[in-house]
Amino acid sequence: MRVVIVGAGAAGVQLADSLRAGGHQGPVVLLGAETALPYQRPPLSKDYLLGREDAPPPLRGETFYADHGVELRRGRTVTGIDLGHRHAVLHDGERVPYDNLVLATGARNRTLDIPGAGLSGVVALRTLADADLLRGHLAKAGRVVVLGAGFVGLEIAAAARLLGVETVVFEAADRPMARVASPPVSEFVTRAHAGTGVELRCGTSVVEIVGSSGAVAAVRTDRGELLETDLVVVGVGATPRDELARRTGLPVENGVRVDERFRAGAPGVWAIGDCASFPDLHTGRRTRLESVQNASAQARTLARTLLGDDTRHDEVPWFWSNQGQVRLQIAGVRQAGDRALPLGDPAGGAFSVLSFRQERLVAVESVNRPRDHVWARRALAGGTSPRLEEVAVELGL
């Protein structure tokens, strides 16, 4: 069996590793568009941005690939799939035959459709090259304007403050991290960033980036205010890289549409990680997650499936974000409307929020309380969802 993996990020690399660890003997080809040795992205908005590391940690050491018979081919972009012949078609026309083709193409940053978005000094962060560009800009910026108060935007804001750069964050929603976090966590994070001098303006959009000689000079808000700046960081979320599936006629629905086994709608084609929308085990709803843990966990499950073991994917998703002194860990996925119960005291700087849906625990956000996170991962493990009264007894709520 010849496995060809499209994308050498967390999902693709883990899949190659798990296939070998599981005893797979056939060829494994790992195709990556970037030229760097596959690396971990999370530090790009944290330690690497701060210059605390010379390079982001590699996903695996350089010798791993040859040692494990993984044919890593960097700087190779797949532009088409020939389903009939089972070939991946590369940008230069080369055809790579497969028995199983795994799309692990990840996500790309959502771009802003406002005037001035193409000016020099408007940057986004996803790749190592992006991080190097941003580092260079931050080193000489007096002020940075961050558009979007999600994980990445706030992590960059925290780093910018540590570098002594004046930082203003604009968020269209009425609170930071509104998509993933409960209101109490948003509130805490707002105060924490205010404490380090980040100016967070929620409910405000930037409608234009004003340039001077091709470079950023200011941003204009929907309230008509003009704010001078020499750097704009766009952190307004990501979209799945599903164009390959789209072009091939595979089903797409907010990402490559896969079933509960990660099958992508054609024989021998699969998708995992940020690019894949899959039926959630708990809600039955189609979902797509952008996280290292989800990428690795789905890769491990798919490796077992490809090796003939029919196991269900039921790992509880978890996420983390480091924003200055805020260590946020989330287990499970909450939705708007879930009932939020606090545990501990936000005023003390360490607390958790338990989210319940129909009286069952679905997610736990922990701020500077790893102990609760550890508990949550166990409580939600294997697809379980304890009832409110069980949780109340266990935690003494």
Binding site: P57, S296, P370
Partner: protein, 108 residues
Amino acid sequence: MARIVYRYGDGTTRAVERATPASVMRAAVEAGIPGIVGECGGQTMCATCHVYVADGYLDRLPDIGDDEEEMLGCTASPRDEVRSRLSCQIVVGSGLDEIEVEVPETQI
């Protein structure tokens, strides 16, 4: 030159030598040492770089920090109250020049 020995349950070992300071986790990942994952990249967020430190080295290590202490509660292999550490928190090459650790059965 710092030296790290990784020991496995079947008695085999792998040694890594580092010219520059690195955590025991990072050194393992970069050298392709199996059994140490380090999914969060050394942020004490994931507990997938769990090791059992060999006798004779324990008293040369920095104390277990609050975050590490709590995350040690979620290791996939059982925690040893004396020997368990997260290897992302143990740095060789600056004060500590050699260490031996046992790699647990599983990290996930």
